[in-house]
Symmetry: C2
Amino acid sequence: MALRRIDPASDRAVYRQIADHLRADIESHERPPGSQLPSESSLVADYGVSRVTARRALSVLVTDGLAISEHGKGWFVRRRPPVKRLSSDRFARRHEGKAAFTVDMEANERKFSVEVIYVGQGDAPPEITSRLGLPPGTAVLVRRRRYLVEGQPTEFATSYIPLDIAAGTPIEQENPGPGGIYGRMEDHGLVFERYDEEISARMPTEDEARHLSLPAGSPVLHLVRTAVASGRVVEVCDTIMDSAAFVLFYSLPAR
Amino acid sequence: MALRRIDPASDRAVYRQIADHLRADIESHERPPGSQLPSESSLVADYGVSRVTARRALSVLVTDGLAISEHGKGWFVRRRPPVKRLSSDRFARRHEGKAAFTVDMEANERKFSVEVIYVGQGDAPPEITSRLGLPPGTAVLVRRRRYLVEGQPTEFATSYIPLDIAAGTPIEQENPGPGGIYGRMEDHGLVFERYDEEISARMPTEDEARHLSLPAGSPVLHLVRTAVASGRVVEVCDTIMDSAAFVLFYSLPAR
DNA sequence: CACGAGGACTCGTGTACACAAGTGGAATCG
DNA sequence: CGATTCCACTTGTGTACACGAGTCCTCGTG
């Protein structure tokens, strides 16, 4: 956090130089996560620039996911949510009848909770019905929930299950019992063959940013899991994750 | 692209309303990828706002990864690179002696090429040597390359291999021959056991954005693969990918 | 025809100012 | 003492203006 000056001879724009100074402080942990950054007016005073330029410098850090602003309070170094590992390999997925998420959390000694947002019949988007092998517009069972790790929302998941599998079973309940919905499906004789997972990353929509309490400039991981049992797709699960909170982990046996 | 007006009674800021209009046009494909967006001055004229406000609206789209600006030319709807699937499952990875990347590309009928940037001895970062089970600062073989799909750089990968495995073998050459470096390792009697892959997403550094020709506001996928053969880690591969270009695909057998 | 100079357009960066609105502590009032 | 008001501070949104620099087309000259 040494006193730094703008180099007027530099080709680099002034607002970028200011952002570089702050970024260096953040990356060296001289400005730790959660700490307050200089206010706009103090940057104006320290660097002799206009407020517009000071704001531009700070907004660079927001785009980089390093800082956030809070109205009326100030600018802060972004606080990273607790990092978690999602063990998606086939051995961890169904350990002792617990969901993979539970196993992951216990292995990492994290406090976590699940909020069920909605369970009931509903329409699935076309890309979901297509994965389920159903005609567009078919009603399915929708299970929407939010996962919190150490009080912080980190994951937002929606499962879509064909009604002929879910109807009249505990899958329609908020809490489907031990082993989760996969356990209930196995109770009904379904034999799981594989889980296909597709992963992409993108910037969140405003809705997603609100649901996950994400600051601007932070990407989300998007995971779509397709569960295949007894020769058919029995569930599609669409998950949006705070990318700062997750490292997905896959272990792939050779041959 | 219907003529739209600002709602002065709305709580939503003017620049956000303008951004919403443009976003709707982009998402409905009325403004297709690569097409030019209204210039700042035409937004000023059409909406009766200042240039600062017009720019603010456009910069929202940049943060969302929907638009880019080109100095002296204008603002454009971001052109998505061709989407590719990385089949990381154990069956596709080593098909007929071809690298997974080649198999993926041929399956998707994409033109692709590889630029070798550096092959030679070098230092590995501490997090890499730790994965390799080597003391910090140990020299290793570094293989750095850039993958282009349809002329567009999409992936930037660096492999780190212990010298006692690589030295004096074709692994030290730019082109290690059929089956790539894994093939040469098998030639020397190494038996592959598994590949561990860790995936995260974040905003690119400026270097990465430059190497991948990424516009601002577009996140990258970060994949670290650890290859285990004959009881030891024989390679760590660190890959940065344009997240708009990739969907990672994993097929996990049940039990 | 080839080349170069202009000029009109674009975005990039910077100034100065104004007012709205959220936050938090100090002062004041009952 | 407790509640409310007020004020100083913060960021959010908007205006108007200036100049630099990249792009691209046109026009004029040799």
